[in-house]
């Protein structure tokens, strides 16, 4: 049962990382990046590390996404 949950989570994480690579609209790529961070936080919790899960969720899913969106707003939105 544990193995099935872990396999599903890792598959969704890898598909989302490939999506962050492929999208041409940079805003969509940043949202895919924040999905990768969130699923990584859940996997950290499954590997019995609650401190690291809390740090990755607070920093990777909230602050990094906000800084990326502000930087995209001050430059171009679409990749050439």
């Amino acid at each position: 049962m544990n193995v099935i949950i872990a396999t599903v989570l890792v598959l969704v994480m890898l598909v989302s990382a490939i999506a962050a690579l492929v999208f041409k609209d940079l805003l969509n790529a940043v949202i895919a990046l924040s999905v990768v961070s969130l699923i990584a936080a859940v996997i950290f919790y499954l590997l019995q590390a609650p401190d690291v899960a809390m740090a990755e969720a607070a920093i990777g899913a909230a602050l990094v996404t906000a800084i990326f969106i502000i930087a995209i707003r001050r430059t171009k939105r679409f990749e050439e």
Binding site: P50, L63, A71
Partner: protein, 228 residues
Amino acid sequence: MRKIIAIVLLAVIVMGISLAVREIPFGKTDTKVGEYYLNEGKEETGAANIVTSVVVNYRGFDTLGEIAVLFTAAIGLGAVFGSRKKKKDAEEVEKSSLIVYTGCRFLFPVILLVGAYIFIHGHLTPGGGFQGGAVVASAFLLMYLTCRGKRIRDKSNKVVESLGGLIFVGIGLVGLIIGKGFLFNFLPKGEFLTLFSGGIIPIIYIAIGFKVGAELTGVLDNIIEESK
């Protein structure tokens, strides 16, 4: 052409790593340092969270280096953006609606309280200075997103950040002055599982919480530029 070279290079690295990872067994750890920290950590430090006692007490010098890196990045960001004149007069910013504004005013102290709880109880429950500081910075991010037109005061932010770093280094120097070593745990250990236990660990984590929160808020304040 560049893509073909990249794929060939990555295929070679994939072969090498998959041959090496096959030797690492998953689920069996035989490290002696981790066992020592687990067995002796309860009596030597008095903190209930072993990861906290490793980060602050046994490897406290690495935490000092990490805070120095964070400080350098915040200063570098201020230097990159600082050579333009900050517009002191407020331009015409579109005000947000009443529901969003009231929601922000209710949520802001609650989020600050949750962040402060996380870094004060860092030695008893999972959490600590860095996690609590990130939650405090997201409270200020909420304020920037909803109550537009308000900025934080630069001077108070820098004073709080510098005080946090000074308290950390000062407590380390007190251990050196006594004669036992930098960052030595000189306060009494206290009773296990209460708030005042663990020696200097709660004081250091409170200082780190204030410093990281003020630093990340300063980074956000530098990178936002108000426009219509």
